[in-house]
């Protein structure tokens, strides 16, 4: 591996640490407020994922 390649990989590793931490701090991947409302109910639409909360009741197995 050349010195240049190693430097690029180390830079990439730095980016791989800083970018996810920054994105995590910014709450990326989480739900965000939406201006959109459901046409029928008028309720604010929930945007984004619920994260790792599992499923819901199965309604009987």
């Amino acid at each position: 591996m050349s010195k240049l390649t190693m430097m690029l990989v180390l830079l990439l590793c730095g980016a791989l640490i800083l970018l996810p931490l920054w994105a995590s701090w910014q709450g990326m991947g989480e739900a965000s407020v939406s201006k959109q409302r459901d046409a029928k109910t008028g309720r604010i639409l929930y945007v984004g994922s619920r994260g790792w909360v599992g499923g819901g009741p199965s309604g009987g197995k």
């Binding site: 190693m6 590793c13 640490i17 996810p20 931490l21 991947g29 929930y46 994260g51 009741p57």
Partner: protein
């Protein structure tokens, strides 16, 4: 490094190739050009050839611990290794092969380097001090047939000579068999593994060693990135701040569709909050669904978050089972600094008469998804660099799994 002076040069009787003799005790020479043995004029049916190797080549020089060595011959063996499998209570046979490189130094001392697919080892000749451990299950027993011999040797190797070996903890007993399968010669060796980086340095391949070291640093950096992400995630969690803790509220069928105020909290900046609700569920199965409404200072709802709590149980072929969700923690990115009002609107309550729940609002919460994605990418990068490095080592040394 300067090549050694041969003590004699013999011209091959078949092809005329000058066979240089470096070892004064040599008894047999095999022409590296046509495979004809010294003293013979007819080449063998199958031409013996030294294996292709990026480092070891006939007459190549290398330096080890300040001593210059020259490669003068190579024997290749194929066969199998038997190892006692204590679980199956049987000898387990594995096809294997190896090469023995004959080397000589300036003082005309002979040494051997053994090569198999796992690496190289320096074979130190030792005095035979024990009997043949036939039947001893602690040894690996090898049965070998010589398939090729090129260069010069201090004994006369027979065509397809048979060798049996007993090896344990790097010490081996090598038995050369005669035509009738009887023991002809017994030798003991102590094999010491050679570090591949040291070996590359010995052959003057310092630039390759430097490249491999850099690849190792890059690989470790990629794997260390995963640890840095995990540590960073936990450190950031230390900055979480509870904004409000809601009073415990009890919800029953009369509370449905009614707004239950839970309190106010102030956000100094936009950001992610977590609304963590913990419930004391009623007895038995049931479910509760509600909306958590976050309104701004103008009393305009800016977020309606579904909250779902439930318990169910049953029986299947594995016996009774119960699953429940007594805690729900929806998260939302609030768009601006403001004083927000939190309220709960129960939607449905099934099978339970009532449930009580309390919650808290936390800010500076960190999301896990970017950490997972970053960690996976770092892991893939580390594995990619590891595989590339191994391939490079294999290409430059001829060994490595």
């Amino acid at each position: 490094m300067k090549a050694f002076e041969p003590i004699k040069v013999h011209n091959c009787k078949n092809c005329g190739h000058p066979m240089r003799q470096f070892n004064p005790d040599t008894q047999m020479m095999v022409c590296e050009s046509c495979g004809t043995r010294f003293g013979e004029s007819v080449p063998p049916k199958y031409k013996p050839e030294a294996p292709l190797n990026p480092l070891f080549k006939l007459h190549e020089l290398f330096e080890k611990n300040g001593v210059t060595w020259q490669i003068i011959g190579c024997q290749s063996y194929a066969g199998s290794v038997e190892e006692w499998d204590s679980e199956d209570k049987a000898w387990e046979r594995t096809p294997w092969s190896f090469h023995t490189w004959w080397i000589i130094n300036e003082a005309r001392e002979i040494a051997w380097i053994s090569q198999d697919k796992t690496g190289y080892s320096w074979s130190h000749k030792k005095t035979v001090t024990s009997g043949i451990p036939a039947g001893d299950r602690s040894y690996e027993v090898g049965s070998w047939t010589m398939i090729s011999a090129v260069g010069e040797f201090s004994y006369i190797p027979r065509e397809a000579e048979q060798v049996r070996s007993y090896e344990k903890d790097g010490r081996s007993l090598s038995i050369l068999l005669d035509e009738n399968g009887g023991n002809q010669e017994i030798e003991a060796f102590h094999d010491v593994n050679l570090d591949l980086m040291d070996l590359l340095t010995s052959f003057g391949k310092q630039s390759i060693v430097d490249g491999l070291k850099r690849a190792k640093v890059a690989m470790y950096a990629a794997f260390a990135s995963i640890a840095a992400l995990v540590i960073g995630f936990f450190v950031m969690q230390g900055f979480e701040k509870t904004l409000i803790t809601t009073p415990t509220v009890t919800v029953n069928s009369q509370s449905l569709k009614k707004v239950i105020p839970l309190g106010e909290f102030k956000m100094e900046n936009k950001g992610l909050i977590e609304l963590d609700f913990l419930a004391n569920l009623g007895g038995g199965n049931g479910s509760f669904d509600a909306e958590v409404v976050v309104s701004d200072s103008d009393k305009t709802p800016v977020a309606e978050l579904p909250l779902s709590l439930w318990r169910e149980s049953g029986r299947d072929s594995d016996g009774p089972w119960t699953e429940s969700q007594y805690r729900d923690a929806p998260r939302i990115n609030l768009p601006a600094a403001d004083v927000y009002t939190l309220s709960l609107v129960p939607d449905s309550l099934k099978q339970w008469r009532s449930i009580s729940l309390r919650g808290k609002v936390t800010r500076n919460v960190v999301s896990l998804l970017p950490i997972i994605i970053g960690g996976v990418v770092a892991l893939l990068l580390g594995l990619f660099l590891s595989v590339r490095r191994r391939k490079y080592v294999r290409r430059e040394t001829g060994v490595g799994l």
